[in-house]
């Protein structure tokens, strides 16, 4: 129960900074569709989406303050999904 009692007070300023980052990346992800990046277009879209998810996980969902095991588990899931996408694009990029 100790861990649940560990409340983390995060300053509003940080939350607002993260929010601003999320909004900026959303605007960038819409804007970037106007540019023809060829094979990189999906990569850029996924990179932006993953960065936004990471911000939400780390700050809004308090992963930053969780124990190391949870951090490793969440990071592993990101790596797994990245590898799955990488292998999928071995098909699409070389067809």
């Amino acid at each position: 129960m100790d861990k649940q009692d560990n409340n983390h007070i995060i300053p509003y300023k940080l939350y607002l900074t993260v929010l601003a980052g999320l909004i900026t990346m959303t605007i960038v992800s819409v804007g970037v569709t106007k540019i023809d990046l060829g094979n990189l277009s999906v990569f850029v879209a996924i990179l932006l989406a993953s960065s936004k998810s990471a911000l939400v996980l780390v700050f809004f969902m308090h992963l930053k303050f969780d124990n190391t095991l949870l951090k490793i588990l969440v990071t592993s899931v990101f790596i797994l999904v990245a590898l799955v996408l990488f292998i999928t694009f071995l098909d699409y990029n070389y067809r």
Binding site: L80, L83, V84, I87, L90, D91, Y92, R95
Partner: protein
Amino acid sequence: MTKHETVSFREAQSRYKGIFAWIFSTDHKRIGLLYLYSIIIFFFTGVILGAAMKLELLAPGKTVMDAATYNAIFTLHGVIMIFLVVIPGLPAIFGNFMLPIMIGAKDVAFPRLNLLSWWIYVIGAIIALSSLFMSGGPPDTGWTFYAPYAFKTNTNMLPAVIGAFILGFSSILTGINFIVTIHRMRAPGMTWFKMPLFPWTLYGTGWIQILATPIVGITLLMIVGERIFSIGFFDPALGGDPILYQHLFWIYSHPAVYIMILPAMGAISEIIPTFANKSIFGYKVIVISTLAIAFVGYFVWGHHMFTSGMSGTALYTFSLLTFIVAIPSAIKVFNWVGTLHKASIQLETPFFWAASFLFVFMIGGLSGLALGALATNVHLHDTAFVVAHFHFIVFGGVGFAFMGAIHYWFPKIWGRMYNSKLATSGWIIFFIGFCTLYLPMFFLGVSGMPRRYYDYVERFHGPNIVSTIGSWVLILGLVIIVYNLIRSAYKGEKASKNPWGGRTLEWSVDSPPTLENFEEIPVVTRGPYDYRKKTEA
């Protein structure tokens, strides 16, 4: 001592009576049995459909059904067997019943979520099978629902797809429950490397259930969107890519094979040391190979698509990865065989199932390598060889492990022994039927007989007759096994706590266990397969 600590979970009173005491029970053991009874019903439905297919193939041309019926039957056989039987099979039945006991807990971490999983399973199953009773009939696409045909067929695709989507939630919730239970509820002293191997495989399976199932969920929703709104994800006529569907489908469905086989390997890892009366050979290596299979298993899905038109780079990457995933599976086989080396083996029915598992799993695994090699795959793809390989792995591997597990844990679950001679006779007949049914399909596949065809040319006739006769022998074996188990559940001799001399914690509790499993949570001081000292019988 309270009443919960003295009477078995079957006799324990709850606020509900009769059938409601089961379908609203949050006891992990009752939920395990609810899954067992539901899965048995679906299994026999699938068996009847499979037998009907073999009957059709007894002779060339139309024998007992037309082509459209045959297409619907092999689709239903696949949907029922994969989504309703084999995927939930071992984890939902034996995982639910045994996991908490084997790790020294009173229940899973989220008992209500556990009950919800079963309810979702039942609802998903009813929706998936409702297409049987609708005009237009059940889908005829095969259980893979491949694009673009899945968007064009006039049969009832949507109920099957929506049913499979709902079933996914049941799988995810079970996975979450098991992972949290293993992380949080192990008995004092049970470190990760003192945990038995069956819970380890459930842990690996749990991660696959959580991470892979949402992908098929989204894919199935995309099919629904494609059929209703013609969006154009997969249909080339709408600018979509049918190979994208195959990627998304197999990104889940290949790891799903490991959802099926990992707990089967876990059950075998419990049976072999018990009947070898010897510590398992290379415990840590088996654990690592379990996790390696769960991890590498995510990256081999493309071997289902070698002839679909993928890039050359993807082809040889997937082929290489397929060969790599065979390594940890082979390590396990060496460990099991190593355990048997110089062991004083008790020749009981569960051991026969485990030994025959090794035999059929090796055939299934090695034929998988023939399919994993690009050159041979081009010849064998979509032939009866694939069907034989798949059944040797899934029916031979998972099915034999399931049979081994049910004979192994039967005394613990029902508190009674079964007739050993009848059980062994059932095993022999089943094993002969199994080999007679599926071995000819390897020859048929190599000779060029395609799968999913209700008709064939005359030169395939002989092996098809043998195969159909095999299906009858297999069913005879199955009837004997089921008769024996049902009869013994009521009339069998009373079982002691530990009839096989096992060392894991489930053999230290009553047969059948009490509602809360343990009077006191045990303190674990030794490894799970420590055979140096005898425990109390």
